[in-house]
Structures are given as C-alpha cells and as structure tokens.
C-alpha cells in the first residue's frame, strides 16, 4: 500500500487583509474567512495527480488544530483525498511540536511520501517539512516545482535563489511544494457531497505522546511602519530630474 500524507493547515484566506487585534494580542480572526493554506493545496493537488497516475494508492490529509480545521479537511476530501486525520488541539503550537505530531502519524501510517506546503502564509515559518524530514531521518526536497516519481526514488526540481536545482532523493521522503508545482483543481459540488461520507478520524492531542510546551513567547503583535505615498511626475523627463536630484542616476 503506497500512501501519501498531505498536511493541510487552516489559515486566514489569502485575500483577506490581516489586521492586528486592538488589544495587540495576535491578529483579528473573528468573522474572517478561513481557507486551506495555498501551498498545502498545491501539495495536495500533486499527491492526487500521483495517485491518479497509479503511483500511489491512498492520499491521507492531516491537519493539526482546532475542531474547525475539519472544514479544511473536508475540502481536501472533496478535492479527492481518501481519508482525513485531525489532531485536535486549541493551543497554538510551535513548528517543532507540529513536526513531532506529524511524525507520530508518519510512524503509524508508514507513507511513501509526505507532501507539505513550503510554508504557511500566516506565520511564514517555512520549517515543518524540514523538521519532519530530520526527525524521520529521511530526505527532504523543499520548494519543489516539479516532481517525477520512480520506483524507489524521486527526481525533484527545486526553485532556489540561483535558479532551478534538480536533486534525486530516495523514498520515503518529505517534499514541500512551491507555487509553480501545479494549479490546484476546483472542487465540484457532487464531490463535496461525497466527501461527507469519507472517513475523518479525530485524535485528541493528549492521546499522542508529544510534549506541547512552547519554548518561545510572542510578546507583541504590531502593524509595520507603512511607507508614505510619494510624488507623481508627468513624464520620463521629469522622472529623470527627480532621480538626479536624489543622486540615484
């Protein structure tokens, strides 16, 4: 049985303008639209395509968070995942703890691949895939823009600062998805209905033997300093004058 595990994080939707709460304690989430982290959606799409190409048998979506994350898992099931697991917690956990929780699931399910988004667009940490690979003592291929699966290896093209790097990794492994890996499918209404019948297992976090103590503390949340709107010029000649005045050309 070749399984692929995909992590889905519930985050504030990509299109929402995020606001700091008036008490300075985190950001406003009341009444705000929540979605699957876009990079995770890309990761799921890739896993589904691998399964559709008969290179895997089962896609399992996993989320760690509050009971509300069931919504995102149901969306994942509607996209085509076979079953879902929610590790339920109301605490905000650090990436290392999240990675250890994922590792518990990995140990139980023994997947061929774990697919995650390269980062979540809320905390922008970009850590869990790499940490999970370290705990699992397996290869990591981060920032993937193309994945080719062979029998017991995968070739991955990675988007790095200097261009496109191709690496070969032994399986099992962790792959994290970058933006250009694919374009996720839209969910169709009948699939949403079908998804309601698919299995969704809820595990209480305390049933797993992972310590939940955070080691850092967020002291303050604030809006960054905004750049001020500048001047408007009318043509290229005026622009050049301004640039010269600033000593920039």
């Amino acid at each position: 049985m070749k399984k692929i595990i995909v992590g889905l994080k519930r985050v504030i939707d990509y299109n929402v303008r995020v606001r700091v709460r008036s008490d300075g304690n985190g950001v406003e989430t009341d009444g705000v639209k929540m979605s699957i982290n876009p990079f995770d959606e890309i990761a799921l799409e890739e896993a589904l395509r691998i399964k559709e190409n008969s290179k895997a048998n089962e896609v399992i979506v996993v989320s760690i968070g509050s009971n509300d994350s069931q919504q995102q898992l149901r969306t994942g099931l509607a996209m085509g995942a076979d079953r879902a697991i929610l590790i339920e917690t109301n605490s905000i956990l650090e990436p290392l703890t999240i990675s250890k929780l994922f590792y518990e699931i990995v140990t139980r399910e023994q997947p061929l691949l774990v697919f995650l988004g390269k980062q979540a667009i809320d905390n922008d940490n970009n850590q869990v895939g790499q940490m999970l690979a370290a705990l699992w003592n397996r290869p990591q291929a981060t920032f993937a823009s193309k994945v080719t699966l062979n029998d017991d290896t995968a070739e991955v093209i990675r988007e790095i600062d200097s261009g496109l790097e191709t690496i070969e990794i032994d399986l099992p492994a962790v792959i994290t998805a970058d933006l250009r890996l694919n374009e996720p499918r839209y969910v169709k209404l009948p699939d949403i209905m079908k998804a309601k019948q698919k299995p969704l297992e809820v595990i209480a976090i305390d049933d797993l033997s992972v310590a939940q103590k955070n080691t850092s503390n967020t002291l303050k949340t604030e809006q960054p300093e905004q750049r001020k709107k500048g001047i408007v010029v009318n043509d290229a000649a005026e622009l050049l004058v301004e640039l010269k005045n600033k000593g920039l050309v």
Partner: protein
C-alpha cells in the same frame, strides 16, 4: 557570554553576501563572540574570505567531498557535531538557509526563529508574519539555543578588515547519501546580483512577452542595475524563477527600485519594502504600487521606458 555560530552560504567559488549580513545581525547581539563555519568540498579561499569579515573570532573550515553540493541533510549532522559550544546558530533566510536551518533545529531538538529583522536583546527579536503585514516581537527561551534565519534585507553587509584564525576540523558524523545533487539550471547574466544590487529594474505581466522584457534589461544595463520581475511575469514564462521579487521570491533592499508594469500585489510589496526609493511606472493609476512608490508615473510603459532610456543615453 553569547557564542554565535554563522553557517556560511557559498556556491563553491564565492561567499554569498548573505553571510556578511548574518554577521551584521550577530553584531547586534551584545556580549558575543562570532564564529563562522564554512563547509566546503576542498577550496580554502572561502574560509579566507570569511576570516576577513569584521568581528569574526574564528573561522571553522570543514572540508569534505560530501560538501561539494550544499545539501541540508548532509550539512545538518556536521553542524550538530559542533553545536554544543554555541548559544546561537544563524543562517540566512535565503533558500539555502530556509532549507537547512530547520533541519538543524530539529536535529538539536530546539525551535527555530525564522526571518529575524531586528535584534532587541540577545534572546528577543522582531520578525515579520503574514507576508510582512504584521510584525511580532518574540522571546526565545534562554535555556535553549537560538536557531534562526536572518532576514538579509534588514541588515547591512559587514566590512572586511579582519584577519581571524582559520581552524580546520574533520567531523566524524555519518553523512547520509539518500539525497543527491543532479544539476542546476540558472540564467547566466553579467548584471549585478539581484540580492545585492544597489539598483534594480523589475518588469511585470504588462510587459506581455519575454521579447518585450528587452526594454527592462536595456534599462537595467544602462543603470548598472539588477533585473527582477513580479510573480505574474515568472508564472507567464517571460523570465526565469530566479528573477522573482516578493514574498516567495527574493526579498531585496536596493537604493533604487524601478517597478515597471507591476501592479504591486501585497506579496510583491513585501519583497521591496526596505528599498530606498521606489519608482513605479504603470498605466493603471489605481494600482496598489502607487501607494508605496516615492515617485509615480502613470502611463504606457512602452512609451515611457524608451523615452527614459533615450534621455539616459543622451546624458
């Protein structure tokens, strides 16, 4: 006493500017001693360059064929074997550091702080979240090591007037072979490196084709500037991915940034918010780029850019 280890980023030939910026960040931590570790395949000039960076105490050089390509799973156990002495371990928040540092953190069973943009105290930092729309102040436990990536655009390039000793060591750690480098494809360019260029000219989807990007390259060359692009232009296939500026591309801080035909999605603005002067040329006067531009020019880029080019040429 804080002991800081910085992991050098390089391509086998040259030390990346990000390493110098990590040193600048480390310099903000009071009562500290800074070491740099260079993991390389066999070229000692890298360690020599690192030893010249101001305030560096010792450069540790680990030569091993396995380090010919900088693979996170190979580097992490080597760092783990020398980590004991240090209170802080820093890497840049480039794709190299983002790939590597969490692997090291997990090997050491500590958390990581990503994208440090300001040091407040040795264990207290500021970092951006939500694509830079929110800044948090985070305090790390003093009983654990601080493993962090450094947001390079927030720090200056450290000077090179030093002569630190170089200590060559060998590491006994067993290195994995499960991850193998195959090849790298990068657009060769003589233009200044996007991440360190003093000036950058970027084009967006409005350019319409890769051929049309020529006017961006020409302007960049005249200004001795790096050339960049928005995500939309990269997605459309006009330019390669390494030119992308923004949250998922490169975060840069040039003195002059000229955005041409870029509307200014929030993810793009994240990548340029530390630029000195932002110039925007766009035909849509309501484009969000004008909200942050120091100098805005509304109009047709295919008319304005050649005019600007001509004016510069005749100067």
């Amino acid at each position: 006493m804080n002991k800081i280890l910085i992991i050098a980023e390089h391509d086998g030939q040259k030390l990346n500017d990000s390493t110098f910026k990590c040193v600048s960040c480390a310099n903000k931590i009071e009562n500290s001693e800074i070491d740099i570790v260079v993991l390389c395949g066999g070229d000692s000039r890298l360690a020599e360059t690192a030893s010249k960076i101001d305030n560096v105490n010792t450069v540790i050089e680990i030569e091993n064929e396995a380090n010919n390509h900088q693979i996170a799973a190979v580097i992490a156990p080597q760092i783990q074997s020398i980590a004991d002495d240090y209170t802080h371990i820093f890497g840049p928040s480039t794709t190299f550091g983002k790939d590597l540092m969490p692997r090291i953190a997990a090997c050491l069973d500590v958390n990581q702080i990503s994208d440090i943009m300001e040091v407040i105290e040795p264990f207290k930092f500021k970092r951006p979240i939500y694509a830079g729309n929110v800044i948090i102040t985070i305090e790390a436990s003093q009983s654990k090591k601080v493993i962090a990536t450094i947001r390079t655009a927030s720090f200056s390039t450290a000077e090179q007037r030093n002569q630190a000793p170089i200590k060559k060591i060998t590491v006994e750690a067993k290195l994995p072979t499960h991850t193998r480098f195959k090849s790298i494809q990068s657009g060769k360019t003589d233009r200044p490196d996007l991440q360190t260029a003093k000036k950058v000219v970027s084009g967006g989807r409005a350019l319409g084709s890769s051929e049309n990007f020529k006017i961006i390259y020409d302007l960049a060359d005249t200004l001795n500037a790096g050339a960049g692009a928005s995500r939309a232009a990269v997605d459309a296939g006009y330019v390669p991915n390494e030119m992308q500026v923004g949250q998922t591309g490169k975060i840069i801080a040039p003195d002059l940034y000229i955005a041409i035909g870029i509307s200014g999605a929030i993810q793009h603005l994240t990548g340029i918010k530390d630029a000195g002067t932002i110039v925007a040329i766009n035909k849509d006067e309501d484009a969000p780029i004008f909200e942050v531009a120091d100098i805005g020019l509304v109009g047709d880029l295919f008319k304005i850019v050649p005019e600007l080019q001509e004016a510069l040429n005749s100067d």
